[in-house]
């Protein structure tokens, strides 16, 4: 198997590359990134002749296609803005494709390439990270066991028990630009059988998760699960698909503050005669701050997170509730959380092995073999558990 990772040197890419390098049957791995030097450095750091690094401008369909030609699958770990162009490059080069999500709106655009992928005999799996990704697949587990599906509530929550050694670092768990959008963009949820736009960070709800996570406060944000699950579960009558995210109130305050100052803006602004995009400058400043503050500091990460799905429906005329959790902690060898980075590696390998039978553009809940996927997650120290609630009285 030859697999390329676009954005391989970014926030998510490196652990995906690592997972690929430890998977059987992988002959070649390409780390491609807009930061070409970083990609080459990362590739070299593995000391593995199978792994190469290269510059890529994923917006340039022609160049990207030339780069990935010969690879069996492409994992897009970069920011969702490059999803469409990367998919088109895959069509040109004849590669399977998967990504970490299109923040709802781009996901809908990507689904329109279904016929192109079908004609090309290729598969694309959209949003196969942890959320979206594992969340969708957990929901599918419940869907399979119900006659009717009423509501699907997916969420992600966690607790950070890392001893920061008194260092106060503003360390977003994922791209600060995506976070800014989640804070600024309206959330789109599927409620009462139709899509509704809600204010970002509305719908505050306390949800109880397995220990040690416990009770967490969660909010609506724009996300991709509601973009696909309503259609996927339509035949069982689903009326509601909602996504919420747990956010530490302090982090919310800080990110909201940055957004209100104007740092979330994608509009270029002139500063001393130069045109800059505030959110990109902020991302650079935040990244530098993390690097400077944690330089030479040994931290033993201790974070527990869950991807959670609560599905309510009917089986044999009776109401049944499924509560699923995929719980992940810091990987014992890798020393970091890997819940988002591992699923695309698993999916890419499945795509190359032909385990996704139908060509086309798919959401994870439509095509991923659940048992196989859960077992693969378990190999990376992530366990999936299910609780079923049903009323036993007649």
């Amino acid at each position: 198997m030859k697999i390329a990772v676009i954005g391989g040197a970014g926030l998510m890419g490196p652990l995906t590359v690592r997972d690929l390098s430890e998977s059987p049957g992988v002959e070649e791995i390409l780390v491609a990134d807009y930061q070409g030097e970083k990609a080459k450095e990362l590739a070299a750091s593995f000391k593995d002749s199978r792994i190469k690094g290269s510059f890529v401008d994923a917006y340039d369909i022609e160049e990207t296609a030339n780069l990935i030609k010969g690879y069996d699958a492409v994992i897009n770990s970069a920011i969702y803005n490059v999803n469409m162009s990367t998919m088109k490059a895959c069509l040109k080069a004849g590669c399977h494709y998967n990504d970490l999500g299109g923040l709802f709106h781009t996901t809908l655009k990507q689904l329109e390439l279904f016929d192109d992928f079908k004609k090309a005999g290729l598969t694309a799996v959209l949003g196969i990270g942890s959320a979206p990704g594992t969340t969708n697949i957990l929901a599918r587990y419940a869907y399979d066991r119900l006659d009717k599906v009423e509501t699907v509530h997916v969420s992600s929550a966690g607790v950070d028990l890392t001893d920061m050694k008194g260092i106060d670092v503003f360390k977003p768990a994922y791209s600060i630009i995506t976070i800014m959008e989640e804070f600024l963009d309206e959330a789109v949820e599927f409620i009462d059988g139709e899509y509704k736009s809600l204010p970002p960070l509305s719908g505050m709800e306390e949800i109880t998760y397995p220990e040690p996570i416990g009770r967490r406060i969660c909010f609506h944000t724009l996300h991709s699960e509601p973009a696909t699950i309503p259609a996927s579960f339509k035949d069982k009558g689903v009326r509601e698909v909602i996504w919420k995210l747990d956010l530490a109130p302090e982090f919310v305050e800080r990110a909201k503050f940055l957004a209100s100052v104007g740092f979330g803006s994608a509009e270029p602004i002139k500063v001393r005669g130069m045109e800059v995009v505030p959110r990109e400058v902020m991302a650079a400043v935040v990244a530098k701050q993390v690097k400077d503050k944690l330089e030479g500091v040994e931290l033993k990460s201790n974070i527990i997170r869950t991807r959670h799905a609560q599905v309510i429906g009917e089986k044999n005329g009776k109401k049944v509730e499924y509560i699923l959790d995929c719980i992940s902690g810091v990987h014992s060898r890798w020393g970091a959380l890997c819940a988002t980075q591992v699923p695309p590696s698993i999916a890419a390998q499945m795509q190359v092995k032909g385990m996704i039978k139908e060509p086309g553009v798919w959401a994870p809940e439509q095509v991923i073999d659940l048992e196989y996927f859960f077992n693969e997650l378990a190999k990376r120290e992530m366990r999936v558990q299910v609780m079923v609630k049903e009323d036993l009285t007649k």
Binding site: F170, F257, G262, V271, M274, P278, V281, M282
Partner: protein
């Protein structure tokens, strides 16, 4: 008296002009600033008083032109931001008019003109606002009561009484944000045990009880003129310690600290997409670019407490001098729509009048504590609506 207010359309000039227009012996005030439209608006806001004249002029562009504008006036009261200090001082010298300003970082350039000012029989008072300015004069008053001064501690509070949740703006500042940023960043001189040492910005914090409504405020050191001027003026008399500390409301302190820790106060450029941009420049641009306030305007309150300790008649005594804007003065300013810190404009105005009226004997370029008669100044402050309290502990 004919007075020039440089930076006449700015925040500090507004209360300065209000005070000066109340003086019966003021016959003309010339407002100088960059924008003619801003000046026109300011004249309107001041009720279109006949004594007001205005001229759009870049103080720094051509010192000769600035000097020409200054000719014939009794005093130049520079309320513009610090960068214009040296140029404006030179222009005053050339025009043969005495000068005062609200402070600056390039005072050595101004002090270099000391002999020239002296020879021409002129006076330049550097840093004659609230602090430096009134603070220094309160300290001088305390020192005057003693045979031998030992320590001078100045504490100030500048607190927005309106909670952040009641503003649409993400951040409000009581005085120039550019200056406050420097106060949060710069290491600075700190006079202790008779020696000049250095302290980091916002160090040596302590909680001080200020008069309501400011209440309990955490004050900490910042770079400020008094750290240097008080030892310079009073070391020969035996002064061993001097400290300047200021406190803000908790929201402001937290937000500024967060922005600083994030690296947004750095002037060292970050590179984004091949473009180098100074984080601080972008941040200031965004902060100054906010859409109009939709909720509540800020309400900055606070006052200074100066504690002077030393020997008097062989005994150890302690003088506490406080200044506090009376309710009437506050109401008047609010009624006029002045929301930022206004005492500064008034204190400079009092000194401007004392210079114009010939009530200050000394000549050359001097700190306020080295030339302004303390008791007379404090009496004028009381007339202007400031409550001045002096207590002695022996």
């Amino acid at each position: 008296m004919k007075i020039v207010i440089a930076g006449g359309a700015g925040a500090m000039a507004w209360p300065a002009a209000i005070y000066l227009l109340e003086q019966p012996d003021v016959t003309e005030i010339l407002l100088i600033d960059l924008s003619e439209s801003a000046l026109k608006e300011r004249v309107n806001k001041l009720g279109g008083d006949r004594r007001l004249k205005y001229q759009a002029l870049d103080l720094m562009a051509d010192i000769k032109a600035t000097a020409k504008a200054f000719e014939g006036y009794d005093v130049i009261y520079n309320c513009a931001f610090m960068t214009a200090g040296t140029a404006t001082t030179k222009a005053a010298l050339e025009a043969g008019v005495s000068y005062l300003d609200l402070g600056g970082f390039k005072k050595d350039e101004q002090f270099a003109l000391h002999d020239e000012f002296k020879n021409k029989g002129l006076l330049a008072i550097l840093g004659m606002g609230t602090a430096p300015g009134m603070s220094s004069i309160m300290a001088a008053y305390g020192v005057q009561q003693l045979d031998k001064p030992e320590s001078i501690e100045i504490k100030d509070a500048c607190v927005d009484m309106v909670p952040d949740t009641e503003h649409s703006h993400p951040l409000y500042w009581g005085y120039a944000i550019e200056g406050i940023i420097e106060e949060f960043v710069m290491e600075h001189p700190y006079f202790v045990d008779g020696e000049m040492t250095t302290a980091p910005a916002r160090s040596h914090p302590e909680w001080i009880d200020f008069r309501p409504p400011a209440g309990k405020v955490m004050v900490a050191t910042t770079p400020h003129t008094e750290n240097v001027s008080l030892p310079q003026t009073f070391k020969a008399l035996g002064l061993k310690h001097a400290s300047w500390k200021i406190g803000f409301d908790v929201d402001f302190e937290e937000k500024m600290t967060f922005l600083r820790e994030l690296g947004l106060f750095k002037t060292e450029p970050v590179e984004v997409d091949g473009v180098k941009v100074s984080p601080r420049a972008l941040m200031l641009k965004l902060l100054h670019n906010q859409s109009p306030e939709t909720k509540k305007a800020p309400d900055f309150r606070g006052h200074m407490i100066v504690v002077v300790k030393g020997e008097q008649g062989g005994q150890k005594v302690e003088y506490t001098i406080t200044e506090y804007a009376s309710a009437d003065l506050t109401a008047k300013m609010r009624e006029r729509g002045v929301f930022s810190s206004y005492r500064t404009g008034i204190y400079g105005g009092i000194a401007a009048m004392m210079v114009a009226r010939g009530q200050i004997e000394k000549r050359g370029v001097l700190y306020p504590e080295a030339c302004v008669p303390p008791e007379l100044f404090l009496k004028e402050a009381v007339k202007a609506g400031i409550e001045v309290d002096v207590s002695r502990k022996g």
